[in-house]
Amino acid sequence: MTAYLAKRLAIGLVTLIVASAVVFCVLEIVPGDPALLMLGMNAEPEALATLREQMGLNQPILLRYLDWVSGMAVGDFGRSYTYSSPVIDLIGERVLVSLPLAIMALVLSTVIALSVGIFAAARRGRPADTMVMGVAQVGVAIPNFWFALLLIYLFAVWLRLVPAGGFPGWGAGVWPAIKALIMPAVALALPQAAILARVTRSAMLEVLGEDYIRTARAKGMPRRIVLWHHALRNALIPVLTILGLQFSFLLAGTIIIENVFYLPGLGRLVFQAITQRDLIVVEGVVMLLVASIVLVNILVDIGYAIVDPRLRTRR
């Protein structure tokens, strides 16, 4: 198990290093001089040169890269050009919106998808299965931001149950904050749940055809226990794989959804930073997102090992 974990961690670390190089290089070739953008087109050449010096833009590229990476390793993501505050503070504020949103959406979609998938698999071929999977088929095709618009119209404009957008901040109390995140979380979760439900159903069906399921049933074990203990555990591997992949879709989805609901999260921060050419913020947020995807993939790998003990002894 330790060797297994060590290997996963090493792969994750290499991915992060290569990713940081790629992000740095891509943003290096971006047209537009950050110093010029800060001071405006009519800036004095001397002032421009001084600022470039201060921002370290005159140093060789390799040195700046190493500077940036070693800074991030100790939590220093640099200073934003447009907000003139440390990037880590900007991220810190926004994470408090994006992380709860992503977690709410992930939990919601997993709970819905697993129950719907198992429900449908247990009723394979019957009307309930056909109906539920038909809904899932449509759900896969729904863009989350359109679904978000429909939710806003239904619950905010028409029924006036929840705010149409914005975020009061956690200072306004836990319930108002959560209330502002419910609709965005649902909008993110349901299209994802549709995909996951389909995967869960087909994974369950595959497992339910195995000999050990028939044996368990033949020795008189109740249907429900067979379904939840024997079948689900074996069906979880493909489900976990998709769940890991979906996390990155979920993060990307938050960018659009935060824009739909005017939520001050990481997605909106990075989107605004890109349009304002505030590259240091873009670099920091992208690295944070990549790191969280790497982390989730490691967690998924650990999840495999928990679900399937055979994997623990393998290299």
């Binding site: 991915t15 290569v18 990713a19 790629v22 891509v26 943003l27 971006v30 047209p31 088929q137 449509v138 896969v140 095709a141 729904i142 863009p143 931001f145 359109w146 618009l149 429909l150 806003i152 119209y153 404009v157 069906l205 595959e206 055809g209 992949l245 990155s248 879709f249 993060l251 990307a252 989805g253 960018i255 659009i256 824009n259 739909v260 990075v270 989107f271 890109i274 349009t275 873009v282 992208v286 997102l289 990549v290 995807i293 790497v294 993939n297």
Partner: protein
């Protein structure tokens, strides 16, 4: 593909046709896809209204016999906008799939043929691209190099590359140990020639199915990008942008938000059904599991 024992002696084409006509997903998917494609083609010659002609007096009209799906805030006919928007969505998604296949399939086939270090490096690189949230990177690319349909195509296309590389590699790896490739090697053919003559024809079905899936995902991604203002630029209508413009006017004119969204859902649904149907038809092993 081996002949189905249930239909002895039937010609493969006739057998395929008979199965296709019995496959509901395939039929519905085909019908929807043809309908959307037909709508996009028709828009080159005819739309109910000229969308460059702004009639502000007709702004935000609801559904009526003169404007079947109503009008937007500039008095443009929604149905005409959706028809022209279909062109944009389809073009972006198709070219992105072509880019993904054009680069990804040779890479995947090469990795499978060479194995060893080439394979390892290519596949690790694949994993790396997967670690970037695709949409975030697409947003970065379009925001940095400027919004527009062309950059949206490139951004979506890049993320199709590892998908096709992976599928092509997995498919090719399953074909290499087969007798006919062994025979071809024994006959002295090069790996490149075997890949072209024997491997690729045998993984076409796989690639076709994946192509439909990526096509559908491309439509969704394009809609997302143009919703954020990074896709096709006005006056070219796009479904995502129509939804963005609808958002602030939803209270007075909800129909603005309904129809472009439905167009996306129906198109993606059609392509997904087509993909499901094709997979059932082309992969007999999966067909039996249903």
């Amino acid at each position: 593909m081996s002949l189905d024992p249930a239909l002895p002696g039937a010609a493969p084409e006739r057998r395929f046709l008979r199965l296709a006509l019995a496959n509901r997903s395939f039929l519905i998917g085909c019908a929807i896809t043809l309908m959307i494609a037909g709508m996009a083609l028709l828009s080159f010659f005819w739309t109910p209204y000229d969308i460059t002609n702004l009639t502000v007096a007709d702004r935000l009209k609801g559904l009526s016999s003169s404007h079947l799906l109503g009008t937007d805030h500039l008095g443009r006919d929604i149905l005409s906008m959706i028809m022209i928007g279909a062109r944009n969505s389809i073009a972006v998604a198709i070219v992105a799939v072509v880019i993904g296949m054009g680069i990804g399939v040779p890479l995947g086939a090469w990795a499978a043929a060479r194995g060893g270090l080439v394979d390892e490096v290519l596949m690790r690189f694949n994993d790396l691209v997967f670690a970037f949230p695709a949409l975030l990177s697409a947003i970065m690319i379009t925001a940095i190099f400027g919004p527009g349909a062309l950059n949206a195509i490139i951004a979506i296309g890049i993320f199709n590359v590892p998908v096709f590389a992976r599928v092509a590699r997995a498919g090719a790896l399953s074909i290499w140990p087969r007798e006919f490739t062994l025979a071809a090697r024994a006959a002295g053919k090069s790996k490149a020639l075997i890949t072209i003559e024997h491997i690729l024809p045998n993984i076409t079905a796989l690639l076709l199915v994946q192509g439909t899936i990526q096509f559908a995902l491309g439509i969704l991604a394009e809609a997302g990008l143009s919703y954020l203002g990074l896709g096709a630029q006005p006056p070219m209508p796009s479904w995502g942008r129509m939804l963005f413009e609808a958002q602030t006017r939803m209270i007075v004119a909800p129909h603005l938000a309904i129809f472009p969204g439905l167009a996306i859902v129906v198109t993606v649904l059609g392509l997904n059904l087509l993909g499901d149907g094709l997979r059932d038809l082309l992969d007999p092993r999966l067909r039996r599991q249903r």
